[in-house]
């Protein structure tokens, strides 16, 4: 699964940044056409939900998605053959 921010919904509040235990969200730099600065993703494949959601059949952690007040965070199915580089940090 792949973590994604829906740029048509995100309002740049950075609440996701505040809650992610893996610090996957970083303050963004670029303003989009609506004047909004989206957070950037730092190696989202570290997110346990990206890695293990399919395996466990349910959302893991999910804090960012739950707190995101604009329903802008989702996990997309990845293209079949896409490789995942997983670096687990301790």
């Amino acid at each position: 699964m792949k973590l994604a921010i829906d740029s048509s919904r995100c309002k740049g509040c950075n609440l996701c940044m505040l809650v992610c235990p893996y610090r996957i969200f970083k303050e963004g730099k670029e303003q989009n056409e609506r004047g909004i600065i989206l957070p950037e993703l730092d190696r989202p494949e570290r997110c346990p939900n990206c890695r293990l959601q399919k395996l466990y059949g349910r959302t893991l952690c999910g804090l960012c998605q739950m707190i995101c007040p604009d329903q802008a965070i989702r996990w997309d199915d990845e293209a079949k053959n896409e490789r995942q580089k997983v670096e687990v940090e301790f």
Partner: protein, 178 residues
């Protein structure tokens, strides 16, 4: 001569304050008549913000903007909603840091946001930079009037900064004018 000035951008850029200051300048310091109006509504929160000022030597009877002749645009969405259809005779002052598009009418580009952030150190005065630019471009109010209006509209302690921003805006345009 009736001028209709339309300001637009997004919430937080001080669009409305800029319009009020312009109206104030005309009504209190230039001896003209002025009506300022704005768009209210929950929609105004995230999205585009709009305010208009009508300035006239005679009393203003009908107070709604019909066809603005001056546009002050500070965001792309603002351009799309309120500036895209500007008639050919109008003049538009554009914050080129924020707006990609360009209109069919005469326009002046001002890097108001970056000037405010970098030169003046406070991004929030971008609106005052634009105000300086529009006055310099159109002469819709006098320089003296707009200065006075800025001074009595901004928070105490920020007068200098705002005056600097105003002048910066004027300067940016005047430099451009050959």
């Amino acid at each position: 001569m009736r001028h209709e000035v339309r300001f637009s951008g997004f919430g937080g850029q001080g669009i409305i304050l800029a319009a009020v200051i312009l109206g104030r300048a005309a009504a209190l310091y230039d001896g003209k008549h002025a009506v300022q109006t704005q768009v209210y509504g929950p929609e105004a929160r995230g999205g585009a913000s709009m305010s208009a000022v009508i300035i006239d030597d005679e009393p203003i009877l009908y107070p709604e903007v019909t066809v603005p002749d001056i546009y002050v645009i500070m965001s792309q969405e603002g351009f799309e909603r309120y500036g895209a259809k500007a008639p050919a005779e109008a003049v538009m002052v554009i914050d080129s840091d924020m707006v990609e598009a360009r209109p069919a009418c005469r326009f002046v580009e001002v890097k108001a946001t970056s000037e405010a952030r970098i030169t003046l150190g406070k991004v929030i005065v971008a609106n005052i930079v634009m105000l300086g630019a529009v006055v310099a471009t159109t002469g819709v109010v006098s320089d003296a009037a707009i200065e006075k209006a800025v001074l009595d509209s901004v928070p105490k302690g920020t007068e200098k900064l705002n005056l600097a921003a105003l002048r910066k805006g004027m300067e940016l345009v005047r430099v451009k004018k050959p």
